[in-house]
Symmetry: C2
Subunit: 140 residues, 2 copies
Amino acid sequence: MKVTEIRNKIIEKGLKVTPQRIAILEAIIKLNNHPTAENILDYIRDNHPNIATATVYKVLDALASNKLIKKVKTERDVMRYDAVMESHHHLYCSESDRIEDYKDNELNELLEKYFETKGIPDFQIEDIKLQIIGKFMTNR
Amino acid sequence: MKVTEIRNKIIEKGLKVTPQRIAILEAIIKLNNHPTAENILDYIRDNHPNIATATVYKVLDALASNKLIKKVKTERDVMRYDAVMESHHHLYCSESDRIEDYKDNELNELLEKYFETKGIPDFQIEDIKLQIIGKFMTNR
DNA sequence: TTGTTATATGATAATAATTCTCCTTTGAAA
DNA sequence: TTTCAAAGGAGAATTATTATCATATAACAA
């Protein structure tokens, strides 16, 4: 993803384009491993040695509330961030902090069809996310 | 659930039975709304005015690691606790903090069958939890 | 019942991620 | 270039949770 594309994403949302915002969004996209705020800070400190911690959080909030990134919460209590905005599920390692995206349209259709006919009493479904817990058979 | 039953649950796990543990486990069962540590404290303070906050957390940890309760993590960052130990899913209100259990064996079987045949490359599934986000059509 | 000991509790300090405050800087529209 | 709302920086504050450690108590045995 080129910087121009990232700039455009930010402009499309009516946000001001700042070096910090570009760096942070770029970091989340490049890292592609659901980084924490700290991971992001470490990554961008090379090129932005003066960025403030609070700025990172503020930018992450701004990006998340403008749907440029998603917040991902885990069992342990650090927020993690994801730049993949298509609806998708997550694979959680039961032994480490590793999290991977899991996209499966066949599954989405299956679930959609299932709940369409069955439904849930007194509940209007907006989104379904699977947390698939287990063990990765490969190291990343 | 009678106190004797709660005592037995604790004894079965080889834990010492203390008034604090009974009160906390009882509170989670009675409240039945995935309370936070604070909710639990408020609830039991009537009968246990001197219980320490740290004790509540320690008891919650002890109960969770002995599989008498489950920790439930939400988008906001307070841990919540659940005494329903059968594998089940959760309905999350997109507008409030309400969380309800969702049990559906038909769905579990469907998912099991789906992943049994399809599988996930390089991943060994241990458990699948659905986060179903939407709106409740009733107030509790 | 009493004594013993490992374990649990209570009080309070510490921690760590995140948020707030407030002042300065900057992007972008005119 | 000017203007000014919005964004960033620095560091204090907040808040849920954990750690520490002295005291109390459950469970077991005598």
